[in-house]
Amino acid sequence: MMKWLLALAGALALAACGENSSGELVEAVDPNGDDGSTTREQGIQVDVRYETLDNGLRVVMSRDTSVPTATVAVYYGVGFRVEPQGRTGFAHLFEHLMFEGSENLPGGTMTNLIYNAGGVQNGSTRYDFTNYFEVVPNNALEAIIWAEADRMARPIIDQENLDAQRGVVRNEVFVNVINQPYGGWIWIDLPMLANENWHNAHNFYGDLADLDAASLEDVQSFFDTYYSVNNAVIAVVGDIEYDETMAWIVEHFGTIEPGPALPPLDISEPRQTEEKFGTIDDPLAPQPALGFAYHMPERGSPEYYAMAVLDQLLVQGDDSLLNQRLINEEGYASGVFGGINLLGNMYNYNGPMLWSVGMIHDAQYDRDTIMATVDEVIEQLRTEEITQEQLDRSITKLRSQFYGIVDSGTRFGLIDLLASFALFDDDPSRINRIEAGFDQVTPELVLATAQEYLRPTNRSVLVVRPVEDDADETETE
């Protein structure tokens, strides 16, 4: 059921596969010590080097010698949100085009370069960035830096490439959305319902008609506007030498001319003041589904960290309140899932965001029945402070989850956070202050945050209705 999440969140799915070493760990207490304490202070301290070249390219590096590989990622400040009206799905289509190679590495030879060196690569498009990333044995690092520079400076944008990739993208939409039950409800339809600003509220996988209408001129203009060196970050993490790596980046990227300033873009969302409801019909779905979402506090604010605690408390893990109540006690569904930024994680976005929850449930329970139970759980958090024990457990889970993201075998999780914080905040060392962000949360702050952000009037509720063969398939709300 979570297949679509894995299919889309490629980097994060990989990051979630396991734990590994990266970054230096600083601990106040030796975990192998025998003092028996269970309240020791510990945390991750990642060594971060950060510079900006004269042409505006932001460069982040972090050295970790545990495995002789190097992970490279180039993040461009172009995501779904910047797409112009009538050009939905453009950011993602462009990701595919840029994957096809460049003048020195045409027709799949860039992919061959990476794989033949013993590496793997991927790319993804999200709300606020498009990224291209690879992990290779570190002897191939300079060649990969050279190849990423060629992709940035000299991509191949031609009609043949555009036509083939349009076909691939159509098939991607088919396999992930159109030929699947529950294909896009919670990560496409629910944000479209909850958001007011078109930039946050359009179908970012793309209407097929918009994709078909994309011309070569549109594509070239999109590239010229957004794929500039001064709208990009390169990050290199792994078993590397800092000076040598920096010299390679300067040599291969340093001569790329900066592009024009980005066009102004307003992605702000108004404060929601009335609860919203929507229904979509899904002819492939055997059972109804229900999703709901609340607008998040601003990223990085104290309330944002308190929402992260509320997310843990409400929906993350078997112990969470909604899992216990909706699944174990009421038996509405087999499971409930959710989180902050379902197409990534709570760290890798930059703008308005939703905290969302969803479940596929039995037809005998309707929306109002389920939401009444949800309200009982949530209203308690809006009227009473949580206990210190609940807070501690939530922060332990957040810390464990954060280590899981930062500490993956491919280092894709770590590089994603470093590149995101460089791109959004010009401050990749922010990664070393995340745990302090959790630790500042108090029961009082959780209560105040729940009162403002878990208001029913800050919420949108979406029903997915299975359609019988003889039923009317038009939308009713």
Binding site: S22, V120, A164
Partner: protein, 468 residues
């Protein structure tokens, strides 16, 4: 057992030849790779037969603890998913404590308790902050050794499984997989039944679950793996305390079977589907066979990598599909099968199959170029590092070796074995195992649109429909 792996990169010289068009600067050389060491592991056996392996790895203070019990769908008999229902009921409470209390304890250690039921093994796992490792072992032992099987929860758990199966049956992938497994393994073996019917799930009783548990859960069928950065002495002591007095129990008697060869095909109607979901397969061999390394490299060249021929052809050249792929599925001591899978645009279903058979034929006839063969061997060597660069990955690799009874040095010699596969070996195994006269084919799609395209293919002329 510490071994060092060196990659002999004969490939690197060939990689330097890149096109010299519009070169801003030539491609930098790729030098010799650094050696990669698998982490040193420590193993010991408890008196009751439980094998324990520690894999110290990484810098994060976490312990990834997995208990693998050899009880899975292979042991279902004719009660499909009884293993799943048993696993789900074990999560409902143990040692007199309800599931919510157990979940809270696990969460306070920074982990979730996960139960995963597979064909051969049910895996109980948690990934906790290392300081809680010994405590987590106790919690896992309670689950595995002292499940309460509360009758009050059975109907809800049963409904969860019924709901999950109904969602699977609405997705083209699981529908194709179910039919494909039945063609491979027939209707008389658990391997041939991937999904139960609602009626089957409704018929299982608490007595069935208890019987399954008693017959299949025992010390003799259990292995424990811990990977991460943790206190080994404390962990060993916790494991001995928690599992040491579990009776040895009965031995594993379920028998793995090899797949049936084709030719056979099955077309399943999904009216209006914009894509056809394809499974194209052949019976093959497993990791205990001398041809296996060659089969692994052959798979990578044909469809098992992003640079493979089928990906280049169907996706990059033609835009027929988004995510084509191929792989080898193995069974302990009973061979395995190779499968190509893809979801292709409905209107080009026949064309995509023709290209697929064409690529198989090309691999069987044309010699493989030096650069392609060297590149794939190097890629698989690099991939081996990535597969072993996480605690979960390391446990997976070691557990696979153990389940299949492979030699202790299987992982240490893996890269050497891959690098010694010759291009002639690849051509040979493509001919041996991808015999199109024995193809097994499943298509889930809009038959009104695709049936003529498919049956017109000359390669399928003599392939009978399933059941005929």
């Amino acid at each position: 057992m510490m071994k060092t792996l060196f990659f002999t990169m004969a490939a690197s010289a060939a990689l330097l030849a890149s096109p010299a068009v519009l070169a801003q600067s030539p491609q930098p050389a790729i030098g010799e790779p650094e050696p990669f060491e698998l982490p040193d592991t420590q193993s010991f056996r408890l008196d009751n037969g439980i094998d324990v392996t520690f894999i110290p790895f990484g810098l994060a203070p976490k312990a990834n603890i997995q208990v693998h019990v050899r009880a899975g769908n292979l042991d279902d008999g004719d009660m499909t998913w009884l293993a799943d229902l048993t696993g789900a009921m074990i999560e409902e409470g143990s040692a007199g404590r309800p599931s919510d209390e157990i979940a809270l304890e696990a969460a306070s250690m920074g982990g979730d308790l996960n139960v995963g039921v597979g064909l051969h093994t049910t895996t109980f796992s948690t990934n906790v902050l290392a300081e809680f490792g010994p405590q987590a072992v106790g919690l896992l032992a309670d689950m595995i050794r002292r499940p309460d099987f509360p009758e009050s929860e059975l109907e809800r758990v049963r409904r969860n499984l019924i709901r999950n199966v109904s969602v699977s049956r609405s997705q083209p992938g699981p529908v194709a997989n179910e039919a494909y497994a039945e063609l491979l393994y027939g209707t008389d073996h658990p391997y041939g039944h991937t999904l139960p019917t609602t009626e089957e799930l409704e018929s299982y009783t608490l007595d069935d679950i208890r019987r399954f548990y008693d017959a299949n859960y025992s010390a003799q069928r259990t292995r424990i793996y811990v990977a991460g950065r943790f206190d080994q002495a404390a962990m060993e002591s916790a494991i001995r305390d928690a599992f040491g007095d579990w009776p040895e129990g009965a031995a594993d008697e379920a028998v793995a079977v090899a797949p049936n060869p084709g030719p056979v095909m099955q077309l399943i109607d999904r009216p209006g589907a914009p894509q056809s979901t394809l499974r194209v397969g052949f019976d093959a061999v497993g990791p205990d066979h001398a041809d296996y390394p060659a089969l692994v490299v052959m798979n990578a060249i044909l469809g098992g990598s992003f640079t493979s021929r089928l990906t280049s052809n169907l996706r990059e050249e033609h835009g027929y599909t988004y995510s084509p792929g191929s792989g080898i599925t193995t069974r302990p001591g009973a061979g395995g099968y190779w499968t190509f899978n893809a979801d292709v645009t409905t209107s080009v279903t026949g064309a995509a199959l023709a290209e697929t058979f064409g690529e198989i034929a090309r691999l069987q006839i044309e010699p493989i170029g030096a650069e392609e063969g060297d590149g794939m061997r190097t890629w698989l060597s690099g991939l081996f590092i990535l597969q072993n660069a996480s605690t979960g990955g390391l446990i997976g690799q070691v557990a696979y070796r153990d389940l299949y009874g492979l030699p202790d040095d299987y992982l240490d010699t893996y890269v050497t074995n891959i690098l010694s596969v010759t291009n002639e070996d690849i051509t040979r195994v493509a001919n041996t195992y991808l015999d199109t006269d024995e193809v097994i084919l499943v298509i889930v799609g809009d038959l009104e649109q695709i049936e003529d395209q498919v049956t017109a293919l000359p390669q399928l002329e003599d392939v009978p429909m399933a059941g005929e």
